[in-house]
């Protein structure tokens, strides 16, 4: 009997030993403020997570320059595919093992701030020559949460219409101009669409940032109210910004939604299946790397009833609150916000955010009408609409718009449903 008890204890002990080992909270070593030390003594590894492989060239050049100043800080890049980036970031954040520096975007910023994952940088900014007034105000504000600043924008993007000059020439259609209208665009798309559907005039993507947010703004609608308390989808102007896309669905001037979901619109554009594409300024590097490098140009979004609108959005480098080497992480983030990194950014095809450097981006790629992106940012850009937990209402938004795009329900019905679900979600925030 005794032995049985002993055996049982042994078993339980083994199991508990296993459990205990993992149940113990790991002490993340409360950050002891590092002794005041000269910059050159800062050392260690800084891991950086980001989602776009196209940025490798820019980041590698930045690392090279950075290491000239801080030779002892090693930057380790951790790229991820977009779909997996947020999954991984969230999983890693759950127990505080997120990369020291990671990219953060508008829709997710509040969630991560409230989750305590991001480190405010106000303290660091005090002792730095970074002047936030020299960055686009909308971008700075986007990352100013609950009275604290969480990052320096290093890039921003707006939307334009990229077009394939070869396909325009072949169809004998004149190139679009910056002052064109929505009706002119639709008409152009009709002329470009080939009878046998081997070429479509445009792509009616079900994409918020690239497409319908822009038309919502141009029509004078809003996605979310200014105080972020209520949905704008029940407004007639907002619904008009959706209706214009739905109207195109029956026209057959675009690959079907299913086609665009299966083969990404940018791939279809670069494989010359789509002649015009609503897409972001970040597309420059992909275009330059493609076969179409000399056959593509870009214009501003068309005006709707005389008004224009484009979403402006930008990404920051956030510092992890669990980082064990925040000093070094900050030095890297600071460097990426400074002039030198912004110039590299411009040369590598990405719009830099620092005042005076976007022009360098334009002049570094003279073959394209990149000024259109800067003009639109200055004159009619609207901040990417977000709330505390945008993901909660973005999912039903996309699901319902999908139904409207597929003509299963009419736009008003879909938008009213979105407004209802969105208001419920916002009330919970």
């Amino acid at each position: 009997m005794k032995k049985k008890v002993l055996a049982l204890l042994l078993c339980v002990g083994l199991a508990a030993g296993g459990l205990g080992g993992c149940g113990e909270p790991d002490a993340p070593g409360k950050e002891t403020p590092e002794a005041e030390s000269g910059e050159e003594t800062i050392s260690g590894e800084v891991h950086m997570a980001y989602w776009a492989i196209e940025f490798d060239g820019y980041l590698n050049r930045c690392i090279e320059e950075f290491n000239k100043i801080y030779p002892d800080i090693k930057i380790v890049l951790e790229p991820a595919a977009w779909d997996e980036y947020w999954t991984k970031l969230e999983a890693a954040s759950t127990g505080g093992s997120v990369a020291d520096v990671f990219w953060m975007n508008g829709p997710n910023v509040m969630k991560y701030v409230n989750g305590g994952v991001m480190e405010p940088i106000d303290g660091y900014l005090e002792n730095s020559d970074i002047d936030l007034n020299r960055y686009p105000e909308g971008m700075v504000q986007l990352y100013h949460v609950n009275g604290k600043q969480y990052g320096i924008p290093f890039t921003f993007d707006t939307i334009g219409v990229w077009y394939n000059k070869k396909l325009f020439d072949a169809a004998g259609v004149p190139y679009p101009k910056d002052d064109w209208t929505w009706e002119e665009m639709v008409d152009t798309a009709r002329q470009l669409t080939k009878e046998d559907k081997s070429v479509y005039g445009m792509a009616t993507q079900l994409e918020a940032q690239q497409c319908y947010y822009n038309t919502i703004f141009a029509m004078g609608g809003e996605v979310i109210s200014e105080d972020r308390k209520s949905s704008g989808f029940d407004k007639a102007e907002t619904q008009a910004g959706i209706q214009c896309w739905v109207d195109l669905q029956e026209e057959e001037i675009s690959p079907s939604l299913a086609s665009l979901a299966e083969t990404a619109p940018d791939v279809q554009f670069l494989s010359e299946r789509v002649a015009m594409l609503w897409y972001g300024s970040w597309f420059v590097s992909a275009v330059e790397a493609s076969d179409l490098v000399n056959d593509v140009d870009v214009v501003e979004l068309p005006s709707m009833n005389g008004n224009k609108g484009t979403v402006i959005h930008g990404v920051i480098n956030a510092i992890s609150s669990a980082s064990e080497n925040k000093e070094a992480a900050w030095k890297w983030v600071e460097f990426l916000g400074q002039e030198k990194a912004n110039v590299i950014c411009a040369e590598e095809g990405i719009i830099p955010a620092l005042e005076g450097t976007p022009e360098k981006w334009v002049s570094a790629h003279p073959q394209y009408n990149l000024q259109s992106f800067i003009t639109s940012a200055e004159n009619y850009s609207y901040a990417y609409p977000v709330s505390e937990n945008s993901a909660v209402w973005e999912r039903p938004m996309i699901e319902n718009l999908k139904k409207a795009y597929c003509l299963e329900v009419d736009v008003k019905e879909a938008c009213d449903t979105i407004a209802k679900e969105m208001n419920e979600a916002l009330a919970k925030e």
Partner: protein, 276 residues
């Protein structure tokens, strides 16, 4: 009359088998052909069957885009350790369950069988948190740690141990060998075929596993080939020929190994069915 009928049967059998072979092989052929085309040619409509010009650069591109060599190494390390872990840990436990008497043995073994039925994908989150608490995220160890312990392997090897006659052990025990020595020196060599079967099944699993390595390691330098392919596919500008080149290279080692050791592979898998 009868003979003719038989021959007809054979013809039908061949027809069936050969069309099956074509369906089986076609995706691989198409993968190889695509991997040698240029991106423009790969997405041309209508498609060309054979590449107009053989582009071997796609294979180089894969190495430039992602640390593919490193992923190879990670996959090999992870697979080898997982196999060794299975062989040692499972065979030890299997021996104990099959041939030693101790209180609680049957209860513990039943619990083990329950694990067999549970889809491990459901526990990926707690497993992730444990690995995180151990401070092992983004390490090679994280790739194989939870996979070292296999209920299936134990179950399989237990069947092998149970089929060995008792007399073998009795003689050694009279000579004063400890049970562990008997296991290590006498019994283990006798179930070589079982170990080979388990090794092969584990290799197949460890080489191809996707979900766990995808979540647990974020740095591309710590990824396995499977996760690397998924990463390659998730890029904005999908480079189909490079993706296919990556797939060819990821599949190749196991394929070569299989062709060399096909007899062992097939016997191993067959054995798991009979013993299981």
């Amino acid at each position: 009359m009868k003979k003719k009928k038989l021959r007809m049967g054979h013809v039908l059998a061949y027809l069936f088998l050969i069309s099956g072979i074509l369906i089986t092989v076609f995706p691989f052929l198409w993968m190889i052909l695509t991997s040698l085309k240029s991106q423009t040619e790969a997405i041309r409509v209508p498609p060309t069957i054979f590449p107009a010009k053989l582009i071997f650069e796609n294979y180089v591109t894969v190495f430039e885009k992602i640390p593919f060599a490193r992923m190879y190494l990670n996959t090999i390390i992870s697979a080898v350790v997982t196999i060794l872990g299975h062989l040692v840990i499972c065979s030890m436990a299997a021996y104990a369950f099959a041939r030693l008497k101790f209180p609680g043995r049957n209860v513990i073994f039943m619990l083990l069988l329950a694990v067999l039925m549970i889809p491990s994908s459901l526990f990926i989150l707690p497993q992730y948190l444990i690995v995180q608490k151990l401070g092992l995220l983004n390490t090679i160890v994280a790739l194989f740690l939870p996979n070292l312990f296999s209920a299936f392997g134990t179950f399989l090897l237990r069947q092998f141990f149970m089929s060995l006659p008792d007399e073998l052990e009795d003689a050694a025990r009279l000579d004063g060998c400890s049970r562990f020595m008997i296991y290590a020196r006498i019994m283990l060599p006798l179930i070589r075929s079982g170990l080979a079967a388990l090794g092969i099944i584990t290799l197949r699993f460890a080489w191809n596993d996707l979900m766990w390595p995808l979540i647990v390691n974020t740095s591309t330098h710590k990824m396995t080939l499977s996760a690397g392919l998924s990463y390659l596919q998730g890029q904005r500008w999908a480079d189909y020929p490079a993706m296919m080149a990556g797939a060819v290279m990821a599949v190749l080692p196991l394929l070569v190994l299989f062709i060399v050791f096909q007899k062992q592979f097939i016997e191993g898998i067959a054995m798991s069915g009979i013993k299981g």
